[in-house]
């Protein structure tokens, strides 16, 4: 007779094993990111690749979300005569929550999958083994530049997203909700506090770290040819999204307390 608890135990062991592998990987990635030798050229290239080239997608997301947010708050606020709070809630929502989370989710798709596919292909074509035989640590040459670049550029992207998101709300409020432009901006800046932006930027740095390590981890451990690389990219995106949403809650709760 098959023990009914065996599949449960196997599943739990599998999950624990995966967490252990990932944690070890993250530890090695951090050490490689913070200690010499560093590959500055690779780091700058990744900053362009991960940060600069993500500007359009992050900007477009932010402007539409800011605009939609303004409309929704206007409708909701009208139910108890609180329409005038649109600028306050837009800036709060964008800086504390939507800016970092949406930028994180967009980059989980764009960057995490890209990293997993690139490193995964290098794994299955033995390029990573080749790098080791050429006395170069793949953690330093491939992974550390990506992790550092994502961790440092995502906060900058989020800062841009904050500005564009607020502008999206402004445009809709002034053009179709009859807000006074000057008053809208004054309300926004008077209400906003530094800690709102700081919370968003802390989140962004953590999300950037998650995106790059998850992509690298899945790619580095991929096997089984094209199928394996495809699976690595999918797992990277799903893993990064789940971790982003979970840590988003934890960081928010930590800051609120």
């Amino acid at each position: 007779m098959i023990n009914p608890f065996a599949p449960i135990g196997r599943g739990v062991l599998g999950i624990l094993g995966e967490i252990g592998h990932f944690s070890t990987f993250v530890g090695r990635a951090i050490v490689a990111s913070l200690t010499p030798p560093m590959f500055l050229g690779q780091f700058l290239r990744q900053c362009m690749q991960i940060g600069y080239f993500s500007l359009p997608v992050v900007g477009v997301t932010a402007v539409f979300i800011g605009a939609a947010l303004a409309l929704n708050i206007y409708v909701g606020g009208a139910r108890f005569n609180a329409e005038q709070f649109v600028p306050n809630i837009v800036v709060l929502g964008i800086t504390r929550e939507l800016g970092p989370v949406l930028a994180g989710l967009m980059l989980a798709g764009r960057v995490s999958a890209g990293i997993a596919a690139e490193i995964g292909t290098m794994r299955v074509t033995e390029q990573i083994d080749a790098m080791t035989t050429l006395s170069t640590d793949p953690f330093r040459y491939l992974i550390a530049p990506r992790v550092l670049a994502a961790t440092l550029t995502l906060p900058m992207l989020v800062l841009v997203a904050d500005i564009i998101g607020v502008m999206g709300g402004y445009l809709v409020s002034v053009n179709s909700l009859d807000f006074n432009g000057v008053a809208y901006l004054r309300n926004t800046f008077n209400f906003m506090e530094p800690q709102d932006v700081i919370l968003g930027l802390v989140k962004a740095a953590v999300f950037g770290f998650i995106i790059a390590t998850m992509g690298s981890y899945q790619g580095y451990n991929s096997n089984g040819g094209a199928l394996g690389v495809g699976r690595a990219a999918t797992n990277a995106v799903v893993g990064a999204i789940v971790l982003i949403l979970a840590t988003n809650y934890l960081i928010t709760a930590f800051f609120v307390e």
Binding site: F39, M122, T125, E126, Q127, D129, A130, M131, T132, T133, L134, S135, T136, Y141
Partner: protein, 253 residues
């Protein structure tokens, strides 16, 4: 005389299968050893254990008599600088140009200036008879034979003591394959290094080997000079050399 590279009792289990079951083999400075064997008999795993890419479950990898598997990371990295490897598919970095591939180690590990690295890369390209005008193209634009030449150039640029070849002629036409074999013999002689190759191409094995060893079921079942391969007295070697489906080795299809 101690062997340049010695594998002693190497065991490795992968996905529940005992791939290597006590491999003992050694190679001396200036000698070329070729390990033959069927697909899935552990040739690649043997090479990966020797290179330090894979950690064996048991046994020792001795380089100049020192066990690499038990060394601290930094010392092992220093020993591994003596290695050069030509990968089966070339394993050239497709994001870099041909010369950057060849000079990768000089630029990234040995911190040679880019100008000097480029000069040395082009000099090495000439050695493997790869025309210097290919220096600035991407590896993907090269033919299979040229990719092998570039991979060989990358493996020898830092003048290794031990060179590894993983199926050097796979995927090449017979004429190109023979040219690569000639090049391997020439380079090994010029560098005076120890060479370890794995292949299932007997023509290649005869050409580049001083000694041939046969790996079967995770063990070395025969070893001898390349010249005596046709009179090995081992039924498995005979079957492999003759390429017969029937014999002591069952083909797994």
């Amino acid at each position: 005389m101690t062997a340049k590279l010695q594998l002693a009792g190497i065991k490795k289990r992968l996905r529940g299968r005992q791939v290597l079951d006590g491999v003992d083999i050694d190679v001396a400075q200036g000698r070329s050893l070729v390990i033959i064997g069927g697909s899935g008999q552990g040739k690649s795993v043997t090479l990966k254990c020797a290179l330090g890419i894979m950690r064996p479950d048991a046994g020792q990898v001795l380089v100049d008599g020192a066990d690499v598997t038990r060394m601290p990371q930094e010392i092992r990295a220093r020993v591994m600088r003596k290695f050069g490897m030509l990968f089966q598919g070339g394993a050239l970095f497709d994001s870099l140009t041909v010369w950057e591939n060849i000079a990768f180690r000089l630029i990234n590990a040995d911190k040679v200036s880019r100008k000097e690295a480029r000069e040395r890369a082009i000099e090495t390209m000439r050695k493997v008879r790869l025309a210097p005008e290919f220096a600035d193209v991407r590896p993907i634009e090269l033919s299979g034979g040229m990719q092998k030449r570039a991979g060989l150039a990358r493996a020898i640029i830092a003048k290794p003591d031990i060179l590894f070849f993983d199926e050097p002629t796979t995927g090449l036409d017979p004429i190109t394959a023979d040219a690569i074999n000639d090049l391997i013999v020439e380079m090994v002689k010029e560098l005076g290094c120890a060479a370890v190759s794995i292949t299932h191409d007997m023509a290649s094995a005869r050409k580049i080997a001083d000694e041939i060893a046969m790996l079967h079921n995770g063990k070395i079942v025969w070893r001898g000079p390349a010249t005596s391969i046709d009179a090995s007295g081992n039924a498995m070697v005979d079957q492999f050399v003759a390429g017969r489906a029937d014999g002591p080795i069952q083909a797994v299809v």
